[in-house]
Point group: C2
Chain length 434, copies 2
């Protein structure tokens, strides 16, 4: 099936010291798979000329494609370009175009460019330069006796963009092959990986030309649907039918596609419907508000968010009944509803959302253990509250609580079913990297 | 690289397909560093005999220790033990003790043991078996001409426990530390990597036994000070003096050590001094509040946070003067001060902090480009506001704005200098040196 093998090489002492969990390798391997290139080796080496040179030589002689990340920065221990030049007997030449890009970058930031940064414009002779719109370190491609080596920065966001915009198109163009591969990445929330796998497995079990890949991006779980066909048309048709089956099985669990997160999806729904929203957060401490405001233009629909961490502010700012806090506790159905109504009313918002819960590690009781969360939702149709039992760990609880609230808003806006009492079926260990 | 060099090898097609972010390698490397063993290579290979055999041979001949994870399961593609036996010319023998353990595991789970599972009791002749209290797959250690190879399951929780309880004690016993390595990780905020490098470079340039490593964990920059000495005492003394020099050069830029983030440090300072804080956030949208509430027990000092995204709520909730918003704009020195005073007063807090700025991408003007931020700070000594010119990208601006505000609070609480007008010297592209 494979059109060739690829090596993924990441460079940096911090990787070898375990200071960083290297997610670039999995990202790159997944992208290679879309091109029918199988990663046959992942290697990480320290910022040392000999180690880097050895692995580059090795890769160039044994793989068809080598993706390298790291060591393109401005500091002394960033020696990848220099080492690549030496390894393959090329001169190191400064590229005026790239230098201009770096200079422009600095002046736009109103900063002085240092000689350190200028060296980021040095490349092995014959290199094809890969643009980096997000940083000063451009990448480059070398063709060494037919093996394509791509050198990229280690910063994930820069690497991701360079891979998709600069590397994959070049690979696609160079690599011939008849079989076509198509894939789609579905973003789901509410069910853990192993349950998703069990739920979908039979759809592809007996089909060598179809694959399902599962990946956690806590609190979401991503499902990659990948198919192969004799040509593009066949692959696209096959993908359409398989992904339709998958979507039908998953139903409301699918929140969107690719890298669009729930805050963008909800923001777009609010904008389309010209609705406004106001938030009252307790246990999430502003996380939901912060996520919504990560989206440019969110000020068009987000009116206000109150992090009412104390009972006093719940009572004063949201008009929550002191008696109810006394009787039912701050983490309770009536308080969640009153918080949602209070923040909606004071802002004249279309939707009021409230979250109150026990984030932990302290504060749990027999009746309301850590992870107990109530979400209140007030809109033109009235006010409801839902109880969720989340997990044991504080930051995960915050992330999950914000996510269930967002997802409930999404479902309301789309007229979908509300969550059932077992939602979300996400266990904390499935949120971890592996 | 050093006498105590180690390789970390992880096995599994799922790794090479990028379906999993491999966190085992960073875990194992960190543990090795505790034993003064430096990982000099990370390698991942698929579940293929040739690939596994090659890397095991390679590692055994070049490293002192090889930690291997994965491929010990009961399925057909779990071939690590068998391949290790073949590679090093050993017979595969079934261990009765291990078999009993596996049988016990199944009966305790009320399940039937299959022949597949029985193969998990097969080990290369001469292997020392490593117990796995959390699963059916025991690990094992091989001594190949003085190189110690440890084979462990890939499931993180099983691997973690086996590493700490079975592997590290054996390593500690076998490896006589010829040289000692000591290191400390300093967390800094306010200066980019290349500037840090230039500022500190001469301290280690001519000392082969000392290293400075730089890593961005935006918005912080981490400096690892690492030294080698003839023995533990020598290394510790050397580290003490070098890190003291580094700290002196960096001064107030050092916010703490290791993985303790600014919100924990500020939270601890507030708790020690029994002070309360209240926040008014505009452009950060709740991010500062969310970070403070990531710290358990933060409800003891954080009274309330208002995300006053609209002018209306700034005026109504914080008592900001509509005339001043009109005259100076919502992103201005007087508004920042009034927001800080307003939120402090309404909560009777010791400290009121306010952030207003242009996060971008829209909303920038000639006079107030994207990245313009005003932070207001109100306490018993009065109210001040500072102007910061941050960067070009929305989420980075939010992160930086929250961080400068937190760092200003830290400095006030410690009686340090306030920021100068060029603070922070952090550029968005500085991440590139990963």
């Amino acid at each position: 099936m494979s059109r060739g093998n690829a090596w993924v090489v990441t460079i940096g002492n911090e990787l070898l010291r375990g200071e960083i969990v290297d997610s670039n390798k999995s990202f790159l391997s997944e992208r290679l798979l879309d091109l029918e290139l199988e990663a046959t080796r992942h290697v990480s080496v320290p910022d040392e000329p000999e180690a880097i040179a050895e692995i580059l030589r090795d890769g160039a002689s044994r793989a068809r494609v080598v993706l390298v990340s790291g060591g393109l920065g401005p500091t002394r221990d960033d020696i990848t370009s220099e080492t690549a030049a030496k390894t393959f007997g090329r001169a190191l030449v400064r590229d005026p175009e790239a230098l201009r890009h770096i200079q422009a970058y600095f002046s736009s930031a109103g900063r002085q460019m240092t000689e350190n940064n200028a060296t980021q414009a040095d490349f092995p002779e014959g290199a094809e330069i890969l643009e980096n719109p997000l940083g000063t370190a451009p990448g480059f491609m070398l063709d060494v006796d037919g093996c394509l080596l791509f050198f990229m920065p280690g910063v994930p966001r820069e690497l991701y963009r360079m891979t998709d915009e600069e590397v994959l198109p070049r690979l696609r163009a160079r690599i011939e092959g008849t079989a076509a591969v198509r894939s789609v990445l579905l973003r789901t929330f509410g069910m853990g990986e192993s349950n998703l796998d069990r739920l979908l497995d039979d759809l592809v079990r007996d089909d060598p030309a179809a694959e399902l890949g599962f990946r956690t991006q806590f609190p979401d779980n991503l499902v990659r649907v990948l198919v192969r066909g004799e040509d593009a048309a066949a692959a696209e048709a096959k993908l359409a039918s398989l992904s339709a089956q998958v979507r039908e099985r998953l139903g409301d669990l699918v929140v969107g596609e690719g890298e669009r997160h729930l805050e963008e999806i909800v923001g777009e729904l609010l904008r389309e419907r010209a609705l406004t929203i106001a938030l009252a957060e307790s246990c999430t401490g502003g996380l939901l508000s912060s996520r919504l405001t990560d989206v440019p233009g969110s000020s068009d629909y987000l009116l206000e968010s109150l992090v009412t961490y104390s009972n006093r502010s719940k009572i004063r700012d949201l008009g929550v009944s002191a008696a109810d806090i006394e009787a039912y506790g701050a983490v309770s159905d009536p308080v969640a509803r009153q918080m949602a109504e209070g923040v909606r009313t004071r802002n004249g918002a279309d939707i009021g959302v409230a979250i109150t819960g026990v984030a932990g590690p302290g504060g749990g009781t027999e009746a309301k253990p850590v992870g107990t969360v109530y979400v209140g939702l007030a809109d033109a149709e009235g006010t409801r509250s839902r109880h969720y039992q989340l997990v044991q760990e504080r930051t995960r609880n915050k992330q999950l609580a914000a996510q269930v609230a967002l997802d409930w808003v999404r479902r309301r806006l789309l007229g979908l079913e509300d969550h059932d009492e077992n939602f979300p079926r996400v266990r904390i260990h499935e949120g971890t990297a592996r």
